[in-house]
Amino acid sequence: MKVISADHAVAHGARLARVEVVPAFPITPQTLIVELIAEFINDGELDADFLPVESEHSAMSAAIGACAGGARAFTATSSQGLALMHEMLYAAPQNRLPVVMVNVNRSLGAASGIWVEYNDSMPERESGWLQVYIEDNQEALDMVIQAYRVAEDREVMLPMMVCLDGFVLSHTVERVDFPDQHLVDSFLPKFKPLYLLDPDEPVTMNPITPPEYAMEMRFQLHRAVDGSKEVIEKVDREYGALTGRTYGGLVDTYQMEDAEIALITLGTVTSTARVVVDHLRSEGKKVGLIKLRFMRPFPSDELESIAENLKALGVFDRSVSFNGFGPVFTETRNALYHLGTPLTNHIAGLGGRDVTFKEVREMFTVIEEHAKGHRVKECHWHGLRGDS
């Protein structure tokens, strides 16, 4: 047990997962991760190669090259760095290369800032990467280890992005429990590549693919992302049996057994919302919380069975599709369309603005009104200065 930041928890996770090649490029608030990994390597605590590449585009390129060469590859980035990698992200899934990357969420582009927002990682859900969102430092460490088990599962063979809130987690210290190395070793065996660049058995990886074949390949990838759901649940259960910690797989719920209204959250806001739910429960309100962990694969069926009996449901988003809704809302509405559950979108915390107890309470007030059949706006921005 140590008191460390989520960035350091991630670095310890990578160390325990015995990553072998770590190409990296610094960006705030991710830097602490790669700095600590570099220290592990130079101190001989981790037997790996650190590649201090000259950009994020090259970091992802080198990670993909290393994975194709048969090594367990790790990298981490954030915001502009992830955007610079965008082109390369697409190479890993279609080549079935299980690279694991931590993205420390941070806002992107103009009105520039270094604070948490999900508009860096959300657009990448079309890339074929699995995406998990983290609530606390312990989950950050555990999920790096779990991510390799899922990604390298023969039924999956896909890259995975572990997303965590910039500063709120990355630079905030919490107590974190370290699983024993031998426990991790038994849970996560050495990486066995499915395809490999090896002169003794030469294969051509990623040739130009004409329309006669490319569509079937996309379909296979589509099915692989879908199929990863079962593996994610299984790996989480197994990890729980070893360490006593599970995270609920794709979604976790809080006070949902008899809930009439609920809010979907992801990331650190979940912790705030849990306290709000406790308060509302003490006032006798039947409210619950759905912690969405994965954006890819998106747990449509799971949400459907959880939301089945709700009178209204709200969806929190820390990013926005301008002139539209937040991406979590859009995906949720897609998944629950035929249930007809009254849905509202709650956009908050953009550009790193705090999402407070008061605002989460406001979200529940809107959902409650909606449940009563009152007309409410479909999309609310919370915490705006001035009118909303």
Partner: protein, 323 residues
Amino acid sequence: MVAKEIKTIKDLPRDDYLTRGHGACPGCGVAIAVKNIARVLGKDTIVYVPASCLIVFSALYPASAFKWPFFYTAFENTGAVISGIKAALKRRGREVTVIGMAGDGGTFDIGLQALSGAAERNEDVIYVCLDNEAYMNTGIQRSGATPFGAWTTTSPIGKKVQGKREFKKDIDAIVSAHSIPYMATLSIAHPNDFVRKVQKAKSVSGFRFLHVLCPCVPGWRSEASKSVAIARLAVETGMWTLYEVDHGVEKLTYKPKTLVPVKEYLQLQGRFRHMSEEDIEKLQTWICERWKHHFYEEVPVPPCKIEEARKALIIDEDPLHGP
């Protein structure tokens, strides 16, 4: 197993790793270069190819002309991907030559950053630039490697401006400035020099850079049968200098007896046929300066007028020829 040293073209093994069945144009300098480099490097090699003519003509699913393990992902990342592959192979305890083969666009321009990064880190890989002096894969657009005066689709022959106005970037000087163990320029018309340099690159460890001039039939508006002759004239006219920088020591590996006027080189290629005397003289001056830089010899500018212009090998009716 210690491989036999390959000193001349006669020692070149016959086994091909870029096999027949690829889709390169007849007379393609890139195909000739790759095939022969592969013969020297032999079996225990992994190749990365970025977006370029080579990927399109060698690996089109479900076929592949490479007998080496082959990987492709994007255009600008050759230096980075080969760094990653090498790191993995080292971890697996495998003695394998990792080679990246990029075009001039993927080296001089968009790939320069990753190339420089890999060179600076002295990655243990071979980087080959297959220089056909334009972006051929996307249909002959100018690159930093395109010579002064040349026609390309983005340096067209206009009423106001004719052809490319900038001189070729000196990538070899840029790469050498990284103090890498080995850098060499190669020509497909000088096979003994060619195989010796590839062999040397294979035997050295650290970052190695091989720069091959690769005539391109449609891009240079030339005859398929003339690719090797054009490559030879490039050297004889000083458009291409054969040299190497071995651990910091620069050495010229071939010196033409006299400097042949550049016009002899230009007139075999439709991409230069619009060039005015004034522009040819400009290019000639550039060559003479380079010549002085490499051979420490002054040459009169222009070194000579062409007494008797040879018949240009341009076939007007062929849509491939003449812009």
